[in-house]
Symmetry: D2
């Protein structure tokens, strides 16, 4: 970490600062230039509050050289993390395909979709039981009953299940859930992240709508700092000015995150675009860019005749995506 | 609410849709144009899930005419909401000045600042006990002890206290807190909002970093739908591409929110800009634009000699802001 | 186009509005609902100024049903546009690979890179002669001399050349240039677009840093409205809050633009990411998503030993990209 | 300027870099830390291309300590710039009020508005003759005839006129125009800026929709580097995710720009919000925040009965704004 010191700073002030920094257990290297003095900090600067440091009167600016995240940092953990999930795993050489309905609505629906997506090539079943909605008047999900239905589908198909948590107090309900999803709006719900850090569950952490990859990794760090290293990162689109899509899918996040961290990276083209016609091309692009897997919304026609999802695929369309993705994976090294 | 139907939609499909909408208790008005058919929905459309409706295969697009928020809507509640807080109140003709340290650090610190800001003209005392931090390694606040210290300061100065909650399970600790703050990162932590809706506490709800005013009002609606009408809205800056400031303060939110809702609107120039030199001009601008109050960070020199806040004012500087703001308020009708 | 009329509008006002609209040559369909009156407009609404209409006192809001762009609209031109460029063409079944240096610096440099990229599989040569720079003190390009050097490289290698124009007065210098590039910062330089619309040159139009796809298509419309249909669209990354990349590459633009328009879509992963390590994965992703081609920065080692580009590839690395892209194209239908 | 060198850089590479930098006329200070080597550059670093430097293989990152703009920099020009404009001036202790119609439409219209705004307190007349429009099918302005009408209004009222230029070739038409406006979309039309730098005209430079203040100042630098120091900066709203307003007015730009530069800062609340009801509160806020003036759209009722502007005020409403602004200015020091 480097701190640029303002001109006109007295030696006394500089000494105070440097003593304070040494008290944090850091080595301090001063280099006085003709115009500016630069303080180089060596040691575990991840524990230094850069914002507080930058707020010092005598500090002009602060620059981190090493990343503020450690447990998630590939530098200290070069090998890909592979997370066992039920009868499969996520990360490394495995390509995961998580599919299912946006919301769990009924036993018939979940069962039908679970069978269909397994048949089509899904490795895990997703379904929303607790639904974060912008409006208190919108459908909030079947909650506990929804999880029950997912577990039934798991029992029959053997597919591990992925479903979202919104409140740490609900953790007991997630006992038999294989992967607990943290939604974009809760990416910086630090209290929830801390509680999940105390479990050993696989956590699928979605990037916030306007968050940077560094912030995503710091949120993963919250979970890992608690002792739970089973974190799966998920890019699901960020907010931009584009209006044809709900969000903008940031696929450069895949190679970037693979560089920065050893954690698996999953792409959700359904939520990112909000347009079913865009799911296949974005799924292929994600595979080509090196993603560790996909998370895709699938509905079963009959039950959804009415609300044939803007972002959901039919089982057949999903099947096509799976086979095309396989073809792309075969030619990517 | 208006739904534009896609060309080529069959009468049968249209009938299904219209029956489904009537089943939601809405009046349905069809108007078939040469190129498009338009479905007008009359009734309590706030309970209609526009996203689901827009996702229908036969629907080209959906447009809300009436706002999706009701309890917070000025249309149904023309008079300003005035919320009693300890020995003062927020909203209407009162101009509130909430001041205090970013974080509660020690008894001396809180007491000194509390006395200083009261002296300078503050009507409430703020202080962070639970601190949301991007990094798990940054200072997380004194937690329960911090609240104790704020209550001591309240006992001596009589200033009502405002402090942030991050976890509904902590509510018992907030028994004697006058205003419970919901931070920007928790604006869409719907589970937390629901719990706060069950209390009668005054809630200061901060706008999320990349959220629209409609989303802010929908989050207020979550609290109000639970039965708690004591919501204070706070604009604290939104994320933009500008780098000289931490965030960009959106002052047009003041007159806009006053149009849309009866809830009070407070401005936080300290967090919005992250630069103490900008706090005064932005405070004056907020007053001129019709804000119901300000939330300003103040530190007490001695204890903070080292981290003289990038965004905190000294008590003297804060005093100047208060007197200048008063002058502006006198000339604004 | 639909206009929602405010409550309390008098019949007289409504009549004035509808007469004014009819005077613009549109059919006007009124449908009075219990709460709102809706005016449906049928005809060539692309000539209606929606912003002006929305600004009317009696109009609550306006919604376009048909797109405001016509010449670029696939609805009126279902077949892909294929643009002949020198000895090759862009669009349809052809996959174009445009490669070359960021800036033309010397004859040796351009010649060496031109030979290298042709050898590696490029179909066109790019190179900056006029360079838009944020600072007036940064290198502004070799200008006319740069174009001369590109033409020499074209003469030797036969590769058509692509280079940027910043000023319509320079058009005479572009006589023998095959594709004229309009940079992101000039996407809404309407005067320049109009002048290019008077030529028959192929125009590569880059999306602005914070522009929507609709705005990109409206800028293409400016060129096409002038009579020049030879427009190639280029996505080169949009501004977001992410800091690890210079911009965020929006690959969903590929399938979306293919839906909305018949014009070819080229992806520039070099400028979008600003990081050479990300060029290959993003190039593969673009191919998988259905792009009509790529625009990639390549430098030749010796001359660039010093400024080995953050975003430029060596000829060898570029060769790998070409062969990997070919593999992906073979498995994509 | 500071460059952080990557680990594993050889002394030879470091020597090459440092020689290259010295060749640019800079003093180079190396300071080798245990983990990183830091290169400090002293001298006129504004001429150094930071992007190129950062792109070097051996450079991890680059940090500017001094601003890249010089002529516009307050450090080298502490006193406020005051620009004479016709019978008035802009900057320093003067508060300018520029008012007029969005577009010049007819002699009656311009004359009527000119008289009305002068009466109400305007110091300059604005009006659009050349109109940048997103669609080629929207009204493009009266062009040369529009300027003629503005000059007639100037002749009668004595108000200096402000109007936008879109093409440097039109400069002869602007001979008698007092202030030439550069619109947001042309803020980085560097060729236009260079041509304006060769004139002595006062230039009102509008901030781009998604540009930073640093980029705005670099564009001012383009004009000033050409020899024209008469630049007036104008904040007119930036693009954000908020939908109730057309753009978001960034009022913190006022004190920030006053710190960074000696150039005057004008605020345009009409275009920024796009909502006439918000013009007054934002105008008062701008005055309270220390703006050097306002730019406000005013229409004259009769001619505009139909398109009573979403963002335009009536002369009476404008008059109220002027008198309220005056009151605020009196209490601001």
């Amino acid at each position: 970490m480097i701190a640029v010191i303002k001109q006109g700073t007295t030696d006394k002030q500089l000494e105070n600062l440097s003593n304070w920094l040494k008290a944090q257990g850091l080595d301090v290297h001063l280099s006085k230039g003709s115009s500016h003095t630069i303080v180089g900090l060596v040691g575990d600067t991840s524990k230094i509050d850069a914002e507080l440091l930058e707020s010092l009167d005598i500090v002009e600016s602060v620059k981190r050289i090493s990343e503020p995240f450690k447990s998630a940092n590939r530098k200290f953990h070069p090998d890909d993390t592979v997370i066992g999930v039920g009868n499969t795993s996520v990360g490394g050489d495995i390509f995961s395909i998580i599919a299912g309905p946006c919301s769990v609505e009924s036993e018939e629906q979940v069962m039908a979709i679970a069978r269909a997506v397994k048949e089509a090539g899904a490795t895990m079943l997703r379904g929303g039981a607790f639904k974060p909605r912008t409006s208190p008047y919108d459908f909030q999900g079947l909650k506990a009953d929804g999880i029950e239905l997912l577990l039934k589908a798991k029992a029959e198909t053997g597919l591990p299940i992925v479903t979202e948590i919104m409140n740490a107090n609900h953790l007991p309900l997630f006992e038999d859930v294989d992967v607990i999803q943290v939604g974009a709006r809760n990416m910086q719900n630090f209290e929830l992240l801390k509680e999940l850090g105390k479990t050993k569950k696989a956590i699928l952490l979605k990037r916030g709508l306007a968050n940077t990859l560094k912030e995503l990794l710091m949120s993963a760090e919250y979970i890992m700092a608690g002792g739970n290293e089973n974190v799966i990162l998920c890019e699901r689109g960020i907010r931009t000015f584009e209006t044809y899509t709900r969000n903008t899918l940031d696929l450069s996040a895949i190679p970037l995150l693979h560089e920065l961290t050893h954690l698996p990276v999953i792409i959700d083209p359904s939520h990112a675009t909000g347009v079913s016609r865009l799911v296949k091309p974005m799924a292929l692009a994600a595979a080509a860019a090196g993603a560790d897997g996909l998370m895709i919304e699938v509905h079963n026609d009959p039950a959804h005749a009415l609300c044939d999802g803007a972002q959901s695929l039919t089982p057949d369309a999903f099947g096509e995506v799976c086979s095309s993705v396989k073809k792309v994976l075969e030619v990517i090294d």
